[in-house]
Symmetry: C2
Amino acid sequence: MKSDAAGVATVRMMELGRTECLALLAGVPMGRVGFTHQALPVIRPVNHLVDGDTIIIRTHGVSALVHSASVNEIMVYEADQLDTVARTGWSVMVTGPASAVTSPAEAVRCRKLLIPWIDRDLDQIIRIRAELVTGYRLDHGR
Amino acid sequence: MKSDAAGVATVRMMELGRTECLALLAGVPMGRVGFTHQALPVIRPVNHLVDGDTIIIRTHGVSALVHSASVNEIMVYEADQLDTVARTGWSVMVTGPASAVTSPAEAVRCRKLLIPWIDRDLDQIIRIRAELVTGYRLDHGR
C-alpha cells in the first residue's frame, strides 16, 4: 500500500471498462434505481438481474417506476460494494432508457430469476438498456 | 415471524417517520446522492453527515455535483441497510434543494467531520435541505 509523505495510504479511483462493470453488477443481488417521479428525483433500492446488455428489475403495477418505464424515461442504476473504513471496493453506474417487459414468457422467466424481498405483487418487469456504463474501483496503488 | 398459508414468511414495508429516518441516516457512514448531469440522471455513493435538517456531503471543486448545487438543483439522498437474504433492514430517502456551503468556518467544520474515502481534493461542501423525508423498515410482522 503506497503512502504519501504523511504516511497516509493513498487511495485513488481506477476507472473500469464496460465488461468488468457489468460483471461486478451481475455479482451482487441489489442496487439502486434512479428515476423521476412527479418532477422529483427518486432513488429506490431494488434487486436486479443483468440480462445481456440490460438490467432487469421488478416492481408493482401501479408504481411510479412503471409509469416512468411506460414513457421510456432514461433511468440510472447504481450498485456498489464499498468499505468506507478499509477504503476498498467499487461502484458501477448504468444509464439508459427504461421499458416495460410486455412479453408474458419473458416476464415469467424474469419473475423466476428475480425474487423480491417484500411480499407485495411485484409483477411488473422493467428493463433498463445499458447504454452508458461507467464504474471505478478504489485502488491502493499496490 | 408470521407466515402465509404456504409457510413463507410475510415481509412488509413499514413506513417510518421523519425523525426516525434522519436518525437512521445519521447512524450510517454512506449513502447515494441522485442528481442530474448533462440532462442525465446520476447516482453517486458518498459519505454524509446529518446536520440538523440538512444532509452534508463533500466533493471536488469541478464536479458535476458542484455545478448542480450552484443552481440549487433538487437532489435526492438515499441510504439503506438491507439484507436481501434475511429480508431485513430499512431504506431512507431525503429530497430537497442543494446548495454550496460558502462560509469558510462552516466548510472547515464539515471537512473535519466528514472524511472522504478517496485521496482527491474534495474541498467543496454541499448541503441538501431535507424537505421531504421518507423511509421504510422491512417488517416480519412479529
